[in-house]
Subunit: 411 residues, 2 copies
Amino acid sequence: MAVNSPVPVPSDLKAVAGIELGHAEAGIRKAGRKDLLVMRLAASATVSGVFTKNRFCAAPVQLCKEHLGKRVTGKPIRALVVNTGNANAGTGESGLANARATCAALADLLQCDPAQVLPFSTGVILEPLPVERLQAGLPQAVANLRTDNWFNAAMSIMTTDTQPKAASRQIQINGQTVTLTGISKGAGMIKPNMATMLGYLATDAKVAQPVLDDMLKYVADRSFNCISIDGDTSTNDSFMLIATGAAPVNITSSDSAEYKLLLDAVLDLAQQLAQAIVRDGEGATKFITVTVEEGRDVDECRKIAYSIAHSPLVKTAFFASDPNLGRILAAIGYAGVDDLDVSKLDLYLDDVWVARNGGRNPDYQEADGQRVMKNSEITVRVKLGRGAAVATIWTCDLSHEYVTINADYRS
Amino acid sequence: MAVNSPVPVPSDLKAVAGIELGHAEAGIRKAGRKDLLVMRLAASATVSGVFTKNRFCAAPVQLCKEHLGKRVTGKPIRALVVNTGNANAGTGESGLANARATCAALADLLQCDPAQVLPFSTGVILEPLPVERLQAGLPQAVANLRTDNWFNAAMSIMTTDTQPKAASRQIQINGQTVTLTGISKGAGMIKPNMATMLGYLATDAKVAQPVLDDMLKYVADRSFNCISIDGDTSTNDSFMLIATGAAPVNITSSDSAEYKLLLDAVLDLAQQLAQAIVRDGEGATKFITVTVEEGRDVDECRKIAYSIAHSPLVKTAFFASDPNLGRILAAIGYAGVDDLDVSKLDLYLDDVWVARNGGRNPDYQEADGQRVMKNSEITVRVKLGRGAAVATIWTCDLSHEYVTINADYRS
């Protein structure tokens, strides 16, 4: 059960003109489940993506980068294909060949060039991709292509997720309605620089390529790059921003008011989709926001926030609703900020002032800590007292269920 | 139950001339358990120590550093005092005052200067130290001082440990018997740069202070600084090497054959005591050795080894005996070695060659991986193919029991 995250229903999800989605049951790992998704884009679409920094990045990630690098006028990206059940990572040259064969097969069906297709995979690492089953499923996915198919799309990219993750927004720009819909997946192996996390966010606005690239980077650093479940960074993480150009709104500069309107809506939706992953974190019972303030720079704030968010001791204390808050101080202390003066540091748990000048706040009562720890959503706030930088990370607790899920994932 | 780690019996543990140990039940956190230890040293003893690098280092750690810094001829360290049940960390100025008061009280009883006493604490962080109870327990501990009291000493520093950790060695140097006995504690919040880990290793050899300092650093970097249970680095970690000078063996230079003989024995014993902590890791069911070879430098080998050792996904796979070994590749990939060429990388699990040139070894059979994963002791060996540096880390798996212990630690 995800933490305070209602399951979307199909009617919540608005079609985005210029993008069609088709799902299939290809039996990639197990029969009888949606495990293949094709997205077809209008010729007017621009696409921008960020990917895992894991050195073992998967074959499809390598190919995405190659195909995005090849875009030239007249050969825009026309399709994305996603499979679950197999990550096609740690698979060497044959993995790359399989990813190429996947693109070629879909390009054949859609009458485009293989370099106009972006492939994505998620699932088990170090296993050969069953590319024949994947290819055999493509015609079914293409036959299913519809603009109002976002709910099935969200279903078809799930792995250990307990629920599909999808949401829509509509905003007005220059009197025109602009629609945004996104889907995401991921529940484990989630950390900084992306996760076993896939995110696809599409709008029907027209956005020039360099402007879309700017927007993607800004948004990723404030959404999908701010979540952590277990500190593991996947080989396959990808977040794609798609502007189909089907609506009569054309954004050509990052300095425009139109850009700002769209950016706010994209960021809001991306944060919801990113947080949905944490709320559905493997075994999660609590949603934790960690905010580190008054740092010298964002980097040190993020270091400390992640140190707290990754500490198994902090995470099990949240699971137990036990205000064993010294564990948070310990995690701050080993975060690697070597010149940190702890005597300037304050710690709050929601509204409760726990530590003051690096020691226990004399007014702190354990009963107050206990009250907050019982909540399903908790904010940890650290003030470093040495600057004006701020960073926020979203994470969850560490429960028995996490161990159960990850000890049994393949069985 | 610790992994392949028989409980020592009192008769295993040799007295070390020049050091007496006395325990007490001071009721610091709970009544009826040994929670206080005093060690009294001969006037001829030299002492060397390494401590946590956590910025929230505990008050006793701060005081240890101060007192070790104050040593001058005629005022050697004469006693160590250790309490469990409270870490006296995150306690600010009053915590430091309490640690000073502890030293003063013991100095009074032993007729020495407070600066000749080193204090140590382990337990819950962010709680005031009940210094009156500690002081009230000191006379009982002093009354118990005996050279053959190592077993009780090991018992009295336990926290979530399931068994005492202690061992002895005897070696011959220049025809003289030299004895070494050590104790350690710790089972959680264990990572690099020490752990909620206390280690005390004493020998009756006489070792000049600068020589002992060299020996300590060499040994710590190859024993207590090579273990990880959960990636949390405690506020209180300390490893102390004591040479009482009571035996007729005098080591005055790091270049001597005598030094080498003693060093080997100290390292061997320190590794056993450090590994005993991992074997007794909270909830541990497996003992894992991670060796990274062929690196450019030791630092990058350690980075990768720790990335594997800290990955919750890798650790749960070990717990489940599931050869989901792609998780190890993912952990290598996000270790932060940014120019790593994974196409040169090989991975072995014991004798099984799992990955070759960055991809699945074509000869690898899952049955072979499964066979190894069922063992209670497993070696993960990574060859980076880019140099001659090596690093080894010892760790354990992540089980349901870990969550149970840490969700319930204070209750």
